[in-house]
């Protein structure tokens, strides 16, 4: 091989001796050295070296090494896949179990509420029953119906195109076009500020104890993961709710999200919305002032079976624990 030389005799690539060495002399110099020694000693070239047990043994080891590496690489991927599938299955199982428990919880709460209403009625304490139900409406402990509006927000279209799935729980990349928990917080606050009396997101009723937060890319409301589109249903005065929301901070924020991030949103008003009772309204430590510590009352109330309305100004209570329907 010729090497480039300057007139002075210094190699042009003198600064890259390592690479040159690797490129030009890939063969182990030991082979040449051994051959030279043999020539010097006058021995013939090592013809039988190829068949020596040493060579054979080394090649057996090489074969073993290759197989071990191959098995290792393959085994790793299958183990990972198996564990993933197991985890997915477990998640789905627990999800279903949680949904079932929630359903039975709602049913039991409904039962308790109706029993209590009946009992208070029998004890001629109808005023108390009405008060319980009115408080239940305000705290989110009972399902409610009434007029209001439905605000539906969804991720920008580019997000769905990129990830291919419309489920934030499956995605891994953060994206600007995604609806975030703080967006929902601002919108819900805007609705409260506009005079909403009861709010639910995707059928999860919001109470004083509700939290809207995110885990990974999923938005959790009361620790239940939601998937878009997010339907925020708010019950309130139909004449003023929408206008006040649009003029307030929530409406401005929604417009900003639409203009800058392509988030899709629509507002429809509805004459008859049904919001379910909250499932997470448990007070364990707080007691009324003057009460007995350790004997916390749990406001376990859902809708009553009776059709009486507590007050004309408040939405009437409902029997069902169902999704909001416009």
């Amino acid at each position: 091989m010729t090497t480039p030389r300057e007139s002075s005799g210094r190699r042009l690539d003198a600064s890259m001796t390592l690479l040159t060495e690797v490129m030009e002399r890939p063969l182990d110099p030991g082979y040449e050295a051994a051959a030279r020694r043999r020539r010097e000693r006058g021995e013939p070239p090592a013809k039988g070296a190829v068949r020596s047990p040493l060579t054979l043994l080394t090649l057996v080891v090489v074969g073993l090494l290759l197989v071990a590496a191959g098995l290792q690489a393959r085994g790793q991927s299958t183990v990972l896949q198996r564990e993933r599938a197991q985890l997915v299955k477990e998640i789905q199982k627990q999800d279903a179990a949680a949904a079932k428990l929630q359903k039975s919880n709602a049913k039991l709460q409904e039962q308790i509420e109706s029993d209590r209403a009946l009992r208070l009625q029998q004890q001629a304490q109808g005023g108390l029953a009405d008060q319980v139900r009115r408080l239940g409406v305000a705290t989110g402990a009972v399902a409610v119906v009434g007029p209001g509006l439905v605000l539906e927000v969804d991720d920008a279209e580019s997000v769905n195109d990129q990830s291919g799935v419309n489920d934030p729980r499956a995605g891994t990349e953060a994206d600007d076009g995604r609806v975030l928990d703080q967006d929902l917080q601002v919108l819900v606050n805007g609705l409260w500020g506009a005079g909403a009396e009861a709010v639910a997101i995707n059928g999860q009723r919001l109470t004083a104890l509700s939290a809207i937060r995110s885990a990974g890319l999923a938005i959790l409301v009361d620790y239940r993961p939601l998937s878009p589109p997010y339907r925020i249903s708010a019950i309130g005065n139909p004449a003023t709710l929408q206008a006040r929301f649009s003029d307030g901070a929530g409406g401005r924020d929604l417009q900003y999200l639409k203009d800058n991030f392509g988030i899709r949103a629509s507002i429809t008003s509805s004459k008859n919305l049904t919001l379910p009772a909250s499932s997470g309204l448990d007070v364990r430590h707080a007691v009324p002032e003057g009460g007995v510590p350790g004997a916390a009352v749990t406001p376990t109330t859902t809708g009553t079976t009776s059709g009486r309305s507590g007050s004309s100004s408040l939405p009437t209570t409902q029997t069902g624990h169902q999704e909001d329907q416009p």
């Binding site: 190829v50 040493l54 060579t55 197989v67």
Partner: protein, 110 residues
């Protein structure tokens, strides 16, 4: 012929025995494989050049594997394991390519 049989025997034995690599040795396995391939192709080329020597072959194989594993180990301890692995793979890869090119010239005269 006989060396090829040795290689096949090793592969078959591996498939039959299903050797499991201990966890502590797993990071060094890929590098060891590349180093072993380098030694094997170097040996084949030396054979075709007519200067094959069994002792040199064995020593080059063992030293390749051990040095490569040691470099990876050292890199892991220093926190630059992946970079040093890349370096080892680049150097050995260039050598493998050059040797395979020489083997090709010997076999096909092209």
């Amino acid at each position: 012929m006989i060396p090829a049989i040795g290689l096949v025997v090793g592969i078959v034995a591996g498939l039959l025995l299903q050797p499991s690599v201990p966890v502590w040795a797993q990071p060094y396995l890929p590098i060891a494989v590349v180093a072993a391939l380098d030694a094997v192709f170097g040996g084949v080329r030396a054979l075709l050049d007519g200067i094959f020597d069994d002792k040199v072959f064995v020593v080059s194989f063992l030293s390749n594997v051990i040095v490569a594993a040691f470099i990876v180990y050292l890199g892991d301890q220093l926190g630059v394991g992946s970079q040093l692995s890349t370096g080892v793979v680049v150097v050995l890869g260039i050598r493998i390519f050059s040797n395979v090119a020489a083997i090709r010239r010997h076999l096909f005269h092209a």
